[in-house]
Symmetry: C2
Subunit: 205 residues, 2 copies
DNA sequence: GATTTAGTGTAACCTATGTTACGTACCGTT
DNA sequence: AACGGTACGTAACATAGGTTACACTAAATC
């Protein structure tokens, strides 16, 4: 069972004044929601009105187009802020569908309350700015990946982040490519010496 | 000649207390740089240490991979904040190369100074948060485009934003596709009735 | 008016990835 | 040991987009 994180432990609040924060968190209206593995937590394009903190479990963020083609943008593990970059956008809709990969718990706080919190404690503001910025960086790297890279380059990138591909089917789904395509490319990369196939799966040499 | 915007006119400072702001801007160390049309303003992967405000002219943001393939992410016109989302990231490097499309002027302020400014005037903070969030939204839309859409869908998206394609060569470059590919796809879309070809160029029906 | 130049359409071919289908290996059940 | 399910590799074919080459047009230059 995955661990349940306390709000105070979130990196978002690191360095913040614990008393002020505690006081704030106790009085501010908030709610905690639970979802079961497999549940859809938010649908793509649904409005984003609260700060959502993933306290337990993990979920996938997936993007879909109108014809049903899908790509998994990332897997998020607690503790994590969900879609911080869309909370204060002019058009605040989720760009992805979030689906629980395990049983999860989410702590929510209204965006206005959270704005007040950031104004109260500058450390929270700085942490939030860094988080939102890091997510932009992540998005721009993903963009680079999809706009400019071939499947084999993307595989290498994946293996730099993940050690091993031991489940071709799942990874193909995550990358948004067809399983036979991934399988074929993996095999040809092994032939070229770009990858090694071990008993654990495909790894970088 | 494109207009020179005063800093105070930037949407980033809208609603802010003019006196506080003026005082701040006069005393804070800042600098103004000029570039000529065609100049590289920042290279992809170079560090991002200052808030940069584009006060005059326009520039292109282009992403390149190691093999030289390129995509133009967007064209930015004054008044605009340059790469706000990378200023406070953990690894603050520009994800794109910025090149002047016209003669331009950029006003720069150190990130620490600007952080202080946001803490001083909450309106600036809110404006910055909105800006940075909007840019994330933009990035996630671009990501959707490259990860999930075909060329013809992307053409329709382009025409929703731009009225007309009157220069196939340039648009092919901007989209990061080969000119003959764009030309072929445009022709076939006209055959299918998805587009019309007028004396001005290709337009939506 | 002749010539050059830049942008365009298009054809032929190439490559990467998607689609479908099938045989195989492994693993758990009985 | 027989069976069924699941993941895997792979082959044959389909499709999208890239590459090269060439001919056509219109504007620019002489």
């Amino acid at each position: 069972m995955s661990r349940l994180y306390d709000i105070m432990e979130f990196p978002l609040f690191s360095g913040a004044d614990k008393d002020i924060l505690n006081n704030f968190l106790l009085n501010a209206p908030h709610k905690i929601s639970s979802f079961r593995k497999g549940d859809i937590v938010v649908m793509q394009d649904s409005p984003c009105r609260s700060l959502m903190l993933l306290c337990q479990g993990s979920l996938s963020a997936r993007m879909t187009n109108s014809e049903g083609k899908e790509v998994t943008i990332e897997i998020l593990h607690a503790p994590e802020i969900l879609a911080p970059a869309f909370l204060y956008a002019s058009e605040n809709k989720f760009p992805v569908t979030l689906q629980a990969e395990e049983d999860i718990k989410i702590w929510s706080l209204s965006k206005d309350e959270f704005l007040r919190m950031m104004e109260t404690d500058i450390r929270v503001l700085r942490n939030f700015l860094r988080n939102i910025s890091d997510r932009s960086l992540f998005l721009s790297r993903k963009l680079n990946e999809f706009a400019l890279q071939s499947l084999s380059t993307r595989i290498i990138g994946y293996l730099k982040r993940n050690e091993v591909i031991n489940n071709v089917q799942d990874v193909a789904f995550i990358m948004g490519v067809a399983r036979p395509s991934l399988s074929r490319t993996l095999s040809s990369m092994v032939d070229q010496g770009l990858l090694q196939k071990t008993s654990d799966g495909y790894v970088l040499p």
